[in-house]
Symmetry: C2
Subunit: 249 residues, 2 copies
């Protein structure tokens, strides 16, 4: 009913989402309940593979996400935008995983999220700086100074996304928060091609060419390395916990 109503009002967001994910044929309206149920049904694939499948379709499919396209061989402007927006994401990352830590009783989830936060934000001394520190160094290598970076406010869309993630952490079950956040780490998972992705987050050859600063390579390399584990392991937990709690839907 909600989708039918919004479509009749020609709401752009809903029409685009239906066209992309469900059907482009207005004649399918009577079948919407069935088509949506089928789209959302995770029982065949299991939750982990369902999430992965949808994510790959959205970002790495026939019409890849524009940011993924521009990151194949990124310009300086793209990388500067990456630094300025992503710093806000990484600070929210700590808050989002902390909602999980604050609410969970599972030692397994606690260890996983602490491990993740430590890598992303805290680091292990000079030998292994955090992902956040690597991002700031990438920004510096592109000609920004640290104070400039840290004092730049997020764009409106970034601020809204961050607010959405904060509300999810506050209001929803910790397993939903884990699902929402760790799905995002699929973005840099270099194994997505095994599951049907047409391309990866960036063209891996740029890690070896001279087209980027060393600090940029260090930042991209870290995600390339960590995000297989940081998406696969927690999404396996999410599937298991969601089944145990009976909240897969």
């Amino acid at each position: 009913m909600h989708f039918s109503g919004e479509t009749k009002k020609s709401d752009v967001g809903h029409v685009m989402w239906l066209n992309r994910n469900i059907t482009k044929d207005i004649g399918d309206e009577p079948r919407l309940p069935e088509l949506l149920a089928s789209f959302l049904d995770a029982s065949d694939l299991g939750l982990r593979r369902w999430i992965k499948h949808r994510f790959i379709e959205r970002f790495f499919g026939d019409r890849p996400h524009p940011f993924v396209l521009s990151l194949q061989h990124p310009s300086r402007a793209v990388l500067l935008g990456y630094v300025l927006e992503h710093q806000h994401f990484l600070r929210q990352w700590v808050r989002s995983l902390s909602w999980v830590l604050a609410k969970t009783d599972s030692v397994e989830a606690t260890k996983e999220e602490l491990d993740n936060i430590t890598t992303e934000f805290y680091g292990f001394g000079d030998a292994k700086p955090s992902h956040y520190e690597l991002l700031l160094r990438m920004g510096e290598s592109l000609g920004l100074n640290r104070e400039e970076i840290l004092s730049t406010r997020p764009l409106q869309a970034t601020a809204e996304a961050i607010n959405t993630w904060q509300v999810i952490g506050e209001k929803r079950h910790w397993v939903e928060t884990m699902a929402a956040m760790h799905s995002l780490e699929l973005i840099a998972n270099r194994d997505v091609k095994k599951d049907g992705a047409r391309l990866t987050y960036f063209d891996p050859s740029i890690l070896k060419s001279g087209e980027m600063t060393e600090q940029t390579k260090a930042f991209l390399w870290e995600g390339y390395e960590a995000d297989v584990e940081h998406s696969e392991v927690p999404l396996e937990m999410v599937e298991r916990f969601a089944n145990n709690f009976g909240i897969v839907d």
Copy 2:
């Protein structure tokens, strides 16, 4: 009014608290508002020193807390009880600080709490095990096996305290949660004698004598080392943030 009412009903908890902290003289009843206000007034000392002052009075004053007395030269039974109850506290510790991490906007508080959680629960590999791991090793050195420890449920009083801390984290301002939790770290702060404590958490000579297992010394030593910084630094922040937010009371 609340205290007068409870005292008239001879409620043990309220009478004991008043006797210990405010007055033993029933004739003081009309002056209770003034006496309580004076007890709670942090404007002279500042919040950090007020907390420290009250904490020292309660645990290290003329009538030291019974656990502090038995920890001066602890028996095996006391140490076993310590291991079995404190494991639950350390797991709650992660949750409590995570409420702060989930709610705060302060990078300074984020860094402090991440540093603290890492030391207490996550550790830095084999070279520097977490406080939690050191506690489990102390238990093993006293003859318990790890499965026994981990499967032992908390006593009723421990469970109630943990529930109180969880509710504080969930319901209260993150600065209050910081105040509530880091006050507790004053217990092992070896500098409390500078502020009027008659004794410390344990007699420091036991760290050098042969009366305890090496694993017990390692556990107690870690707190002895870390808890100066883990109480002083965050309580200074709490005072500053509480002033900024106007929530000292």
